[in-house]
């Protein structure tokens, strides 16, 4: 099936909130698994050439995903997701924070709260991320970690990609 993928990125700057919608050509079971199982998350969460490496995963209310973003030179940035609410196959909420290897959060840093919702129609699964950042610094940190640096070698690619995205956004 070749259906045009939905990709919406709506910004509410006043509240520093972003709503992202994306459709996936796969049944809900698979998409839900890809978002909630460490072994699968490790395969896509970090933009190449970075990779995500899970240290521990407890997908339950009150549980935590502790992982590192590993750069091409082996540099590691640690992050965690603290799960607060889970409605199986429907939605889950987490708080995203940066930390050290043991999961200790630097109290000076800020985070973001993500509500991720899933729905399926005719084999296509729609995922919605409602993301609220505490500060611009947190947004910068997310991007710098495993994205900007990863592209510094081929900045042309990034420029091209951004240009395409801007065109699409119009």
């Amino acid at each position: 099936m070749t259906q045009e993928k939905i990709f919406n990125f709506v910004v509410d700057k006043d509240n520093l909130a972003v709503k992202v919608e994306r459709s996936f050509d796969a049944p809900l079971d698979l998409v839900w698994a890809a978002w909630t199982e460490a072994e699968l998350l490790d395969q896509w969460w970090a933009p190449k050439p970075w990779k995500a490496e899970t240290k521990s995963m407890d997908f339950s209310e009150g549980g935590r995903w502790l992982y590192a973003m590993v750069g091409p030179q082996g540099e590691r940035h640690w992050a965690l997701k603290d799960f607060s609410k889970i409605a199986p196959r429907k939605s889950f909420t987490y708080r995203s924070l940066f930390c050290d290897e043991s999961g200790k959060v630097n109290p000076a840093t800020t985070g973001s709260t993500w509500v991720n919702s899933f729905s399926e129609s005719k084999g296509i699964t729609l995922v919605t991320n409602d993301i609220r950042c505490d500060s611009l610094a947190h947004l910068e940190a997310q991007i710098k970690m495993g994205f900007k640096e990863g592209y510094s070698a081929g900045l042309g690619n990034l420029e091209e990609l951004l240009a395409r995205l801007r065109e699409k956004g119009k």
């Binding site: 993928k5 509240n15 698979l30």
Partner: protein, 106 residues
């Protein structure tokens, strides 16, 4: 605590001040005329905007005139563009994972 532009625009009065300054530079007393709140409250918001590095100051007689730094406002756009690109790249990778999962299921 580090201040940034999102703290600047998180408050409705500060957004209104930004709108005013987008049109022209102003002194605090000129700005205060546009608001119901006290001159003190307006000054507090101006101080935060200055701390956010969003305003340029120009001494004008006994008062300071404030100007909006448009380049700072652009900063938000740029970071959001990059965040959008980050999510787009992630999702393309997720597409590949899902394709592999579907193939394995068959």
């Amino acid at each position: 605590m580090r201040r940034d532009i999102f703290q600047a625009i998180a408050d409705p009065t500060r957004r209104a001040i930004i709108m005013l300054l987008a049109v022209q530079g102003m002194t605090p007393s000129a700005m205060a005329e546009h608001f119901e709140t006290s001159r003190q409250a307006v000054s507090k918001h101006i101080r935060i905007l200055v701390e956010c590095d969003l305003l340029d100051q120009e001494q004008q007689g006994r008062e300071i005139q404030y100007h909006l730094r448009a380049d700072k406002m652009l900063e938000v756009e740029q970071w959001l563009e990059q965040f959008k690109a980050l999510m787009a790249k992630r999702f393309t990778q997720l597409d590949d994972v899902l394709t592999r999962l579907k193939a394995r299921k068959k």
